[in-house]
């Protein structure tokens, strides 16, 4: 049955029997929020709670776990695997900067010079990402192979020394993550750039700004929300990535995501894995809030 929640605005008297329906009106928002709320509770809060209790448990997957407020799990995993957090942080930072540097010119060009074919260009940019993530990563391991068609050819013509390798090194991992996350970097940038009123640039040049100055003082500042959003959307998945380090990495490229995966799936130390996952999540949430506070509000304008 139709239920005109805001029927008073339309000047229609609520039908008889609906008159006392103030309760319904007050409850309506909760009703509307309920599906999302249940979803969130089932798939976010409950698992989070399970993970948190597990991270404070002792035991082993073979003998079972006891929840006993084992806060010692946290210092233990930080002590053991702190280096992987740092490595992930470093890699994710490089990926974010690199991704922005690569995505900005492309997004800029499409937004300002794409004309009527903007969406075609965007589609072309995103087309490779219709292929599965893992397959794309695996393809890189073939492309970057020591004797593959890229490095093999460069070695044959003497550009690179014979011992040169990219695959199974840190640059390969960083490159792989940057590549895989490029759409997440590009799209917010494009949206921000595309929304800029192009007349502002004209106005700037009317006021004797050079093209470079117009970019620096008008376009770039106006695109910053896109830079921040793109950066965040790149940094967060980059921090947790493990596929690239697994496929393209070698010794010394293990990231925190790999460690969590290993603890969960190979060693089955669920308590350590949970503690690691929880720390990682906490870092990201706190980091994101701080980031938003510092860069995304009006409170700091002086």
């Amino acid at each position: 049955m139709e239920r005109p929640v805001r029927s008073d605005l339309a000047g229609v008297e609520p039908p008889e029997g609906r008159r006392g329906g103030g309760v319904g009106k007050r409850l309506a928002p909760y009703g509307l929020l309920a599906p999302a709320g249940v979803w969130q509770a089932l798939f976010f809060i409950v698992p989070m709670f399970a993970m948190f209790t597990l991270s404070l448990s002792t035991g082993s997957s073979r003998t079972g776990y006891n929840f006993d407020w084992a806060f010692a799990n946290y210092p233990e995993v930080i002590d053991r695997y702190g280096q992987f957090f740092l490595r992930s942080f470093r890699n994710a930072s490089i990926v974010t900067v690199l991704g922005l540097a690569l995505a900005y010119p492309a997004a800029y060009w499409i937004a300002f010079h794409g004309g009527r074919r903007k969406s075609t260009f965007l589609l072309l940019l995103l087309l490779p990402f219709f292929v599965s993530f893992v397959i794309r990563t695996l393809s890189w391991s073939f492309i970057l192979s020591d004797e593959g068609f890229v490095l093999g050819t460069l070695k044959d013509i003497g550009v690179l020394p014979d011992a040169f390798q990219i695959l199974n090194t840190t640059p390969a991992v960083i490159g792989g993550i940057t590549y895989n996350l490029l759409p997440f970097t590009t799209l917010p940038l494009f949206v921000a750039l595309d929304r800029i009123d192009k007349r502002l640039v004209e106005a700037a040049s009317d006021l004797y700004a050079s093209r470079r100055e117009a970019f620096r003082k008008v376009v770039f500042p106006l695109s910053l929300p896109g830079v921040f959003a793109g950066g965040l959307l790149t940094f967060i998945p980059a921090m947790g990535d493990y596929v690239n380090a697994d496929v393209l990495g070698g010794p010394g490229t293990h990231m925190i995501g790999n460690q969590i995966q290993q603890e969960f799936l190979l060693q089955r130390n669920y308590e350590r894995a949970s503690a690691l996952a929880f720390i990682l999540m906490l870092m990201m949430v706190v980091g994101a809030i701080v980031y938003a506070r510092v860069l995304g509000t009006e409170d700091i304008t002086t």
Binding site: Q83, E147, V191, K217, P251, I289, G296
Partner: protein, 426 residues
Amino acid sequence: MTESRKIDPSFLRGATMRRMSRRDLFRYAGVGAGALSLSSILAACGTGGETTPPVTGADAPGSTEWWAARNAEGPGPNVNFTNWPQYIDRSNKTIPTLDAFTDATELEVTYRTDISDNALFYAQIRPALEAGQETGHDIIVITSGKELYEMLDLGYLLPLDPDLHPNFDANADPSVVNTSYDPGNAHTLAWQSGFTGIAYNTNYIDRPITSMEDLKDPAFAGKIGMMGNDDAATLALLAVGATPETSTPEEWQQAADWLNEQKDSGVVRKYFVQDYLTAFENEDVWITLAWSGDILIDRLYFGRTEFEFVIPDEGGVLWTDNMCIPQGATNPVGAMMLMDWYFQPDIAAALTEYNNYVSPVPAARDLVEAHAAAATGAEAELLNAVATSPFVFPTPEIGEKVHSYRVLSVDEEQQWNDLFVPIWQG
């Protein structure tokens, strides 16, 4: 001009615009956090250890009475058989030995190759096993290593009906009968066995490789592949002169030191598992720990005659992959029929001719030789090579050089993992 370093107002205006506001950023942060919690869902399963006490008595799955009831029902129409990749005979996208089974028994087989790593596969099915639910597999193939021992220990494998494997009783090699880890073959029947040794590419390495120490040769820096699993730990134990099966924690430490020394010298390209083979075939790796059959297939079927496989002087690993029935399997009778099917000499011969691993049926050798004699040209050459390969039909000399994995208790496993696993991580 004494302009202090003030922030450009236009920059700030852009930085603080409401178009993509703080709320958006929070929202994105929420999306990111939500994605992370996937791992927490994993955590929610399988944390209780042995919570469900096994049913005992006549109702217990695998008891004589239980099997009598199952046999009275007869086999189900379909057997779900889950194995490792490239581990069964193929001919134009069909699997002849399975087709023959279907023809003989009218049971369909759903054959999947979902297993690329024991630990990973076990972690996938463990939550279902622990909860007492079916895993979706009637037959799985697990290596004689710590995952198999744990599954046996926790009662996750269905005890077999000893009357349902007549071919096994008649034809199996003594080495796979009544194994140390599964007395009386109460839960497992061998699929194939194989060796872990060293493979190298003679296009790049022109001296014979004989020793584990060759895996430290700086001449091959960046071209050395290691495995990141118990194979590497076991071979390192052999490299330091220990006997893996009876090794002590002190010897584990020495082996870990050996591996760390190798790692710190920077010669290792990567710690692989199943993916070592691709790197070896792409020539990114010249010398690597390897599984015998993989290299033999490349040599014999794909013409990579530059590949050599050796068991190092210090010793190698002989492992056995075992067919077993996980608890809760829906078609145990059909599963047993299929398991026993592979112990017929002609079926076993067809399998070994293709996958080049060690057959648990010694009578297969005569059949492979007979096939070779009857064949002509390249096929005869190939079959002869299979029949005479010491890694398919092992010679006594090789038998003396090989060892099995260490069986670990719960405490020992933690100690073992803490020593070895950080080597292939990090």
